[in-house]
Symmetry: C2
Subunit: 457 residues, 2 copies
Amino acid sequence: MTDYGANFGKTIKKLLDEKKYQTLKDVLVTMEPADVAAVFEDIEEERMPLLFRLLPKELAAETFAELDSDWQELLIRGFSDSELRELLGELYVDDAADLIEEMPANVVKRILAQADPQTRREINEILRYPENSAGSIMTTEYVSLRPDMTVAQAISRIRRTGVDKETIYTCYVTAERRLLGTVSVKDLLLATDDDAPVSAVMDPNVISVTTLTDQEEVAQMLSRYNFLALPVVDTDGRMVGIVTFDDAMDVIVEETTEDIEKMAGMLPSGKTYLHSSSLDLFRQRIPWLALLMVSATFTGMIITSFEHALAAQVALTAFIPMLMDTGGNSGSQASVTVIRALSLGELSFADMPRVLWKEIQTSVLCGTALAALCFGKIMLVDRLLLGNADITAPTAFTVCFTMALTVLIAKLVGCSLPMVAKRLGFDPAVMASPFITTVVDALSLLVYFTAANALLF
Amino acid sequence: MTDYGANFGKTIKKLLDEKKYQTLKDVLVTMEPADVAAVFEDIEEERMPLLFRLLPKELAAETFAELDSDWQELLIRGFSDSELRELLGELYVDDAADLIEEMPANVVKRILAQADPQTRREINEILRYPENSAGSIMTTEYVSLRPDMTVAQAISRIRRTGVDKETIYTCYVTAERRLLGTVSVKDLLLATDDDAPVSAVMDPNVISVTTLTDQEEVAQMLSRYNFLALPVVDTDGRMVGIVTFDDAMDVIVEETTEDIEKMAGMLPSGKTYLHSSSLDLFRQRIPWLALLMVSATFTGMIITSFEHALAAQVALTAFIPMLMDTGGNSGSQASVTVIRALSLGELSFADMPRVLWKEIQTSVLCGTALAALCFGKIMLVDRLLLGNADITAPTAFTVCFTMALTVLIAKLVGCSLPMVAKRLGFDPAVMASPFITTVVDALSLLVYFTAANALLF
């Protein structure tokens, strides 16, 4: 995709250099808004306003909605008041609200001054809702029908008012703004009797969300039910807007990226990698690195307190990395699996006993297999092949025993911490690899040295 | 969501116990297929067929498509031939093809025997395509229009034939099966002239995929362009089917789960956590655990070869876990960020120099900050607070120097391995935390002991 934008950018630049504006226009109108936006973000800043003015109104608005906020700001600063008014007239209300959330205060002021009163009211409505709520991502432009309209009247209403609506395919049947049912254009078109009332063809079993429902839940519901849009009602039960599937797809991708970032011990950034400066990356990464480094003091203390054992048998040190890594890997396998299942809604806290039991069984299988493999490896490779005579069968046994127990501890810690975090209202994704590794490191070293003291000295 | 299904399950079970079949029916018809399926998977197996027979035809087929394959098989084995025929008549062709892929051979034979010749042909068409290709997830049921039809004729054709189509909202204008353009029902309904030919209202700039395009790419295109469906053409340029947005959402979620599993050092399973047995989990997890454990032999060898240094200053051992963990965490931050950007199509191999430069800058920032923090921590906590007089300023300097260099190495290895893997046609997700940790462990220990030899002895 990126490649496509970049390569196409060259053609566009050449046409711009040669001032072939008519050709440029002919080329741009054949493209999808997302691709035009990719080309715009690839050319020099000062040429973008010129290029933008070549686009027909509707494509211009759709392209604008796809641009990154830096480019949007650049364009708006170059717009005359009438250009800005025209753009706002074409933008969907939810895109306009997104825009306002991203712009600095003086730009926001200008935008609101140019928006017509109706749009301004709708934008403010959306901006009232907390970030990441259904209210904040909904659009107020949907088709509403009255229950007593006939099918023919409904179709003609859609034909008359549909042009500004984000989707016309699911229509909402309301009376005094209360949601009575939904009816799809498919149902209306395929209805056998054009004179039947809408209430007879509508589906009265409506699934809706409230303005305060978390956007991730909204996205999961849209994906679970394969809906094109979900209606949003306010706390008094009155319909105020809809969330469409394309916004839900974006939410799913964004929220997953956030989860992945948290699982890798980073603060979520909300910016794409190439748009992040190294200072952004530093800010995103240093908090967990610093915290985890400091918390490694405990592992250091454990090693220090067993110094005599290590001094007596230096060979023991050589196995520390293997034990720690196996523990870390086992733990992150369990934690990442559980975190993903939690965020897909496949698991809840009530499943904890089943999860623990599954992980205990899996640990016994993995631990036994690894311990056996490890014993063979130590005796064959480390002792025979590498000729390390310090390593005796009791040493190997100590290592392998620790290995098996570490796998068990790691899997139990790995699967339970995220579930407990979720239960306590924290984000389970934070309880992933880096954090679990630190906990498991300390526990596995304790097991190791205790076992060594008991078995070898 | 899970909770909802489970709680509702109790009501349904009670109604079943009391044989209140009419009430059950009244309740079930108000529910969405995905929720009915969740209830079914929650009740005892032997009662499911009874419950299934209470559903009206269409809801029954939609619920069936949402069920896990174990439950689908159970139902089919209980069906009479005529029940099976009826179900196949209602199922969308892509769901029928999915079903056949999951069933054992004898069940497949029965299904194909009961399908009508047209359906059988279409199913076989879909099954011809490789797994994870656009062809394998498409449906052949779409609305096609001729370019010379009028808008009014087009609408009446949709009304006549639309009932069996998976989506009617995007229609495909074809001549001799070649795709000329797309037209949405919105365009048709909002067209001002009912007698205009379809060719005048259609959009001739069609974005399509081929039957062999990877399903992940198809899903990303649908999400990028906010399309309801993408047309699929065969290698001769003839239109053969469409992929709809709801299937794309499922693909995005599945592929992300696979990526996450690989990043945590697991083989992707394709099963949900609670549906995986501990043997499944063992098979998924043991290969990487075993491989990484064996490869830790190298870190062991490095430690063994520097045994004299460690014996001379045992305090050095205490810092090994901290250095290894910080290296591992730094590396996985970089690798996970790059892997995610690659799989979202935000990065390509051509961006490698920019990525390396960004990571070098970030490493210098993170490395300096961590080294300074670490030096303070060692001198204050380890030396003063814990009274470890072995730890001198040169020791602290050695540790902090290693720390800074490890962060740099880890970030460079972390960001470049996934990009190189992608370039060579391997899956970048495999180059994540566990693998990078092993590589970085060995490199950081080498730096540590080399620095210690140079600075302390």
